[in-house]
Symmetry: C2
Subunit: 162 residues, 2 copies
């Protein structure tokens, strides 16, 4: 059975309830984090349906697409805070751009020229992404942007202050 | 109390356990969906920590950043299936690019020129995004890409076949 069929079967148990009616996030919060399968955002942060926007990509990096999403989140859907969460043991921190590109070429035969979002210093990647957010003029609300490192082994969040 | 402080307090209740050690998603699945606060991905699909990559942006649209994430997901972290989920009552389907840009300018004073990812036909947006994925040569595994509409009111997923 394909994975998609398995998770489709699980949907029969889900109940969204009243939350289905709330368009604007109750906590006025947008969370940006990594796509990593071990990052269980709602479990970790205790988010219920309707609470917060959740934006995820490889690394939880601030890209043009993330800024597009946050722009809409703040200007149209009234969020005011941004919580950035990177995590330990991230694939983008274990390899350099060159190593990652080489692995991708080996797997697909395709050459990679764009920035893959790798970083050598995990703390610095958080500091850099917070700065990118704070310097984005299209984001109306930039006074409550905070960054965290999620330690998967210790299972805790540590705030990173630039 | 800020929302970030509230959710930080919740992290004390979370336990990741064995899942902390599994880098490659157990289901070899990547899910792409919208950042919308009402889309509780793990609750809806019954995903446990470690099961699947989850990529989210405004609309669950296939952008360059999404392709970057999926490229890494497949070539480095061995996922094989892609599940695309859009939902009813999406802000990007309720407004045109011009209306959304106008609202953003009114809120921030900033002009918007880039594509915000709006769509007029929700079903067509899924068909279009599936096509974009299937036509992406850098994705090694394109035989199991399926798209769904998540009806927030009825609380079910309906498969969309092109």
């Amino acid at each position: 059975m394909d994975a998609i069929d398995k998770v489709l079967w699980n949907t029969r148990l889900h109940y969204l309830g009243m939350a289905a009616r709330t368009t604007e996030p109750v906590l006025k919060l947008a969370v940006l984090t990594c796509m990593d399968a071990r990052v269980d955002v709602s479990g970790l942060l205790g988010l219920r349906p309707g609470d917060a926007h959740v934006i995820r990509n490889a690394g939880g990096r601030v890209t043009d697409d993330v800024l597009r999403s946050l722009l809409i989140s703040q200007a149209i859907l009234s969020t005011r805070e941004i919580m950035l969460i990177h995590h330990t043991d991230c694939a983008l921190g274990r390899m350099t751009q060159a190593q990652l590109a080489e692995r991708i070429t080996a797997a697909t035969g395709q050459f990679v020229t764009e920035d893959l979002g790798t970083f050598s210093d995990p703390i610095q990647s958080i500091v850099q992404d917070i700065e990118r957010l704070k310097e984005a003029p299209r984001l109306a609300n930039r006074d409550k942007i905070r960054g965290f490192m999620y330690d998967l082994q210790a299972n805790n969040l540590k705030e990173i202050v630039a």
